[in-house]
Subunit: 349 residues, 2 copies
DNA sequence: CTACGATGCCTACCATTGACGATATTGCGC
DNA sequence: GCGCAATATCGTCAATGGTAGGCATCGTAG
């Protein structure tokens, strides 16, 4: 409620002098500064952001856009971690965070344009798991700094994503080290870029071992546990079924565990299952799920950092890649001996 | 970038006339209005919220405060649902949502005061599972409309909470109907108000059946799965162990399932387990967890609705209670026959 | 011809900032 | 020691973009 004029009158200076003190700018004598600071402290005065924003031509607000249906890749807990990361970085720059969710990616894009047009936000961070090109096109109506958490065509927009390739590579190597040679994969259709990368990682690891991914052993789901269960049954019904299943997200991996249980398969003795994401659920399953962890916090924090670089007129080297980490738990173990023997591979210890 | 002046010049009217059209106010002829609206549509002009906020003396921004460590009661997915609910309601009022997280409740309170002082937000919704009194005290420095999602002393601040009492009542009745007479409970210390209510519900249901809660059968955890596992072992180590365990949140229930598995107990044949919250995990456990569902979306939406009532100067009847719903899944079943027979109760079908 | 209503323009205002100008103080040279 | 100039300090004023109320103008009707 109190304005700069009120406080200025109290401190017996002009509003502009008060402003100088508030912004730590020179041309104020030490005594005046001290007196004014005392009054500010006593009244707890904080200048109105409304007026400050008007004059600054900026809003000091960073938009966070979440098209929440796209798919379940970015499961909820992950998103909250991302938010925390963004907020941590934004706080340091005295920026606030504005949340905007939308049903579809296109809704999100037009919401973003509207927020930019009306000067509510200075730019945005967009969580997107699919193609960002329609998004970028809509945004050309009102260019502004924005950063994608996800995959984007090079040069289109700064982006941050997890090291999906490396994570899948590590997980596949882990299974290979355990003696598995026949690997089933549960992917999805349509396939977000992140899953392409994970598949690339799998293929790279297999190639290292002189193997190739049998296309009959790639089943598809829709990220849901139920679809993972169906896909796992599909894989296990094959004439020469896999000894390990790599589900490209944890929720489908949970479904795979359930499929195995319903068939009386022991895990990991009869079948190894590996997931991706390390959602909270992963460590709670029976057995606890071996999976690939990605840090939402770092993802968010890095995205915000890049955003502010853009705001400062810099052009950061674009795809920042956040490392992932293999978390080996109880759901993965040595390949079943018979199968190994059949193929003449040594059994892992 | 274009201002109301630019657009006014384009439409060949004065800025003030354009403003009238924008705000659907009278004293503009139909033809002028049509012409101006056409120009607005053609240019896609949206008035600057910055200037509008300054003149309106409001920010049209609703703060959402989340002290994220308090405990794990409000698990992450739940929070996202709450946000979606708040946003849905806020959108209708053309309000934006500002996110602020804080490590502790006190941090959150001072952050809120700062946001209010600097006119960034018009008020806030606070997600709090513990005592809101310190919060309310800090907030007296700068009174503003705020709403708590959680429990608050009557008359202190408008609040919304789930029907914890009714949910626990229904879940306990469910177990009693299945023939269980010896009920173990996994609670927590310190105990948020929601858990008090859940315990009240349990006691009420037991009282209906002429029973009382054996205090030796109340174990404590800290909301984490690991603590639930420990607590379940504790309960099952008793001389006369329970036939059913009601964990007051799903994550501890997951731990209880694990404890049962490690003891070779079959679920639900040997032991029934019931949780609370219906987090995504619940339906994925083996067996799927019987639990009590609460709708985060409705919680958020109702909180926002109450907030806007406060903003409009109304004083809504304060604790709004969102219904909960028992979701019976595979983890609860008839009480083991022997135990029932011992006590002379008929076996459930 | 006057009066009234409808329409649309003019201007003050919101809280803060920053450029610029005014005032006072200080230092230096004569 | 006095006067002039330079500089430090502080106040005045315009500007930011949009809104609202007062006021002028125009047309029409009595």
């Amino acid at each position: 409620m109190p304005t700069i004029d009120d406080i200025a009158r109290l401190a017996q200076v002009a509003p502009s002098t008060l402003s100088k003190v508030l912004n730590h700018r020179p041309h104020v004598s030490r005594e005046t500064r001290a007196r004014v600071e005392q009054v500010i402290a006593a009244t707890g005065f904080v200048p109105s952001q409304r007026a400050r924003r008007l004059i600054a031509g900026r809003s000091f607000i960073l938009g966070l856009l979440i098209p929440y249906t796209s798919d379940q890749l970015f499961t909820d807990p992950h998103l909250l971690e991302i938010m925390r990361g963004i907020e941590a970085e934004a706080n340091e720059r005295e920026y606030n965070l504005l949340l905007s969710t939308a049903r579809t990616s296109l809704d999100a894009a037009s919401a973003l344009v509207r927020l930019l047009r009306s000067d509510v936000i200075d730019g945005a961070i967009v969580v997107e798991t699919h193609d960002v090109r329609p998004f970028a096109e809509t945004l050309q109506q009102r260019p502004a700094p924005w950063v994608v958490i996800g995959y984007a065509p090079p040069g289109m927009v700064p982006s941050v994503h997890a090291d999906d390739f490396g994570g899948a590579l590590a997980a596949t190597r882990h299974l290979l080290d355990l003696g598995h040679r026949r690997l089933g994969v549960i992917s999805s259709l349509p396939r977000p870029f992140a899953l392409d990368e994970r598949l690339r990682g799998i293929n790279a690891a297999l190639a290292e071992a002189g193997l190739r991914l049998d296309e009959h052993l790639v089943a598809t789901g829709d990220f849901s546990p139920a679809s993972g269960e169906r896909a796992a049954h599909c894989l296990l019904d094959q004439p020469d079924p896999p000894t390990a299943i790599f589900a490209l997200n944890d929720r489908m991996a949970a479904g795979a565990l359930r499929a195995a249980a319903s068939r009386g398969l022991r895990i990991p003795e009869d079948l190894s299952v590996v997931g991706f994401d390390d959602i909270a659920l992963a460590s709670l399953l029976l057995p606890p799920l071996t999976t690939v962890r990605q840090s939402g916090y770092r993802l968010g924090r890095t995205a915000a950092s890049i955003f502010f670089q853009c705001l400062d007129g810099q052009a950061p080297e674009t795809p920042a890649i956040i490392p992932t980490e293999l978390v080996a738990r109880g759901s993965s173990g040595p390949a079943p001996p018979r199968r190994c023997a059949e193929r003449g591979f040594p059994r892992a210890p």
